[in-house]
Symmetry: C2
Subunit: 320 residues, 2 copies
DNA sequence: CTGAAAGCGCTTACAG
DNA sequence: CTGAAAGCGCTTACAG
């Protein structure tokens, strides 16, 4: 079928089946109260013509899109895959499709993409990111049901919110290290955003003499130079932990013998590097399902909820 | 603004500005031939009412969406990030937005999502995947300009196609190993799909006594057990290469001393694991830009093209 | 069970 | 430079 040809509409199907377009519409939508004979003729005609409903028209008139938009911080993050899968499963079983957008870890772009999803006309948005600012989230929540998965600086009252318990996760990591006999534990910052900061604050209140390093080209080498003063390090995420393990290898610092390492997120990386990373797992699939469930409930008028998911310690070789 | 309230339309703006809705439409679209006075009044009114154009209506009447759909094999693949960024940059500068969808590496789901993008009404589709079957691609190419990035079993004549030169990439990897003095080189399969098979076929014709292993729980251990019979391994992708390096570490096989390793794709993984992976790089950003450029050209009636991008060797520690 | 009418919110000619 | 009319392809009441 050449694209230049007239794409068949409901009217073409009606003519071919010898009925009105109202009846075609009803039959196509599977409405009850269409005679079997008519239905069969209509569906046959539609099939014959290779008819496809025009989504724009359908959405214009119905006022809903049956579409959920998911906004991701960026595409690289191994952490978010299961969250998206969870969202999609829950959405799909409720008859919604999911489209994705991402912001390359850039705040302005994230805001643009968030607006883009809303302007496109999705029925709800799930923002899997901690990078958005309060006013961006406010503006979005005013226009569409919004659920945030992650830990931005603040979440508007009108939005749903699902995150993991970073304080508890940090406590699990640090308790594990202490139980392995580590007293001098360092911390490596991920960023200054809330999730990372919460892990850091928990660290500060947990150890007697906090020793913190930045995750930059200077920070990790300094940490490794200090490997005789500290015996373990808690990194704010797996990416960092993997970087520490790699740099340690380059400098002949043995992990875990000279330095035990614990990460956060339990991404694919954690089981791929050597030694494998002890880390903190979040129930990501579940969080995604909950996010979609909440967005759909909000669509039906339910008030937004806040869910804090419990993290879990996953032990591998990097902590001895 | 509560969602329950009447969302302002072009007619509300017209009334507020004291003009016709045609003029509002013209002003909003930035058409020339609207007096400055009218334009100012209209834009002020739109702003005041927080007017947003209804995308469904706009698309229904204009017949185009200014939307490009990108289909990804799955979300995990570090390989595709730059491709998507390239697509987005090129699309955006032509006034198109990009939405993403993915198929979790499942053929049926990929087909469903491909249909979903088209049904949604995107103007063109870029399928960044080698997993789709000929008939799925055929059906899609009939309905919308389609550009494939990757190497599926076959690409319809009606579709554009961009891929890297796997044969050349494999040759670069193998020549590199040979130059480092390796004569007994093994190969580890990625899958049976065309890209991986092309790398394998090149391998077979390159070495005198091919020695192949599967990338499963049995294959890699057998390879490592044979490490005194082979001195190097070419893996069909970085993920596999990283797995080999990890398993080698577990079995005290030293990389590169006992076994040199070369991967393919130059993903983030390649510089994160230790030893860093020697690998083959594809010009991914460029490939993404080309894909978008081609899709947009096809929208203007240009015939589909086939582009084979040149890969490049990236040397790190894993090859000695 | 079926059809004719009205309308969703826009844009596109076409007058003036 | 501006406005009135027609129409995009559907769905939604409402008659019959």
């Amino acid at each position: 079928m050449p694209r230049s040809a007239h794409r068949p509409t409901i009217l073409d199907v009606a003519r071919a089946a010898g009925v009105s377009k109202s009846l075609v519409s009803a039959a196509l939508r599977g409405e009850r109260g269409v005679s079997t004979a008519s239905r069969d003729r209509i569906l046959a005609a539609a099939d014959e013509l290779d008819y496809r409903t025009n989504g724009w028209a359908q959405r214009l008139v119905s006022g809903r899109s049956d579409l959920i938009g998911v906004l991701l911080t960026d595409l690289r993050n191994a952490y978010q895959t299961e969250i998206v899968n969870g969202v999609e499963d829950a959405a799909r079983s409720a008859g919604f499709d999911v489209i994705l957008s991402h912001g390359r870890r850039d705040r302005d772009l994230l805001r643009t993409r968030l607006q883009g999803l809303i302007d496109l006309g999705v029925d709800a948005v799930i923002a899997v990111t901690g990078h958005l600012q309060a006013d961006d989230l406010d503006a979005a929540a005013e226009r569409v049901p919004l659920v945030v998965v992650g830990r931005p600086a603040s979440v508007p009252d009108a939005a749903g919110w699902i995150r993991n318990d970073d304080e508890e996760g940090a406590r699990l990591a640090l308790t594990h290290l202490r139980e392995r006999g580590h007293e001098r534990i360092a911390f490596v910052h991920g960023s200054s955003r809330p999730a990372s900061r919460a892990r850091r604050d928990t660290y500060r209140s947990f150890v007697a003499h906090p020793r913190e390093f930045d995750a930059d080209a200077e920070g990790i080498p300094r940490l490794l130079d200090a490997a005789d003063e500290v015996s373990a390090v808690f990194a704010a995420n797996d990416r960092l932990a993997a970087q520490i393990v790699a740099d340690a290898s380059d400098r002949r610092v043995r992990v875990p013998e000279d330095l035990a390492v614990v990460g956060y997120d339990n991404t694919e990386l954690a089981e791929l590097v050597r030694p494998g990373l002890t880390t903190i797992d979040q129930p990501r699939t579940r969080m995604g399902e909950d996010a979609a469930g909440q967005a759909l409930a909000m669509l039906d008028g339910a008030p937004p909820a806040r869910i804090v998911a419990a993290p879990r310690l996953v032990v591998r070789s990097s902590s001895g």
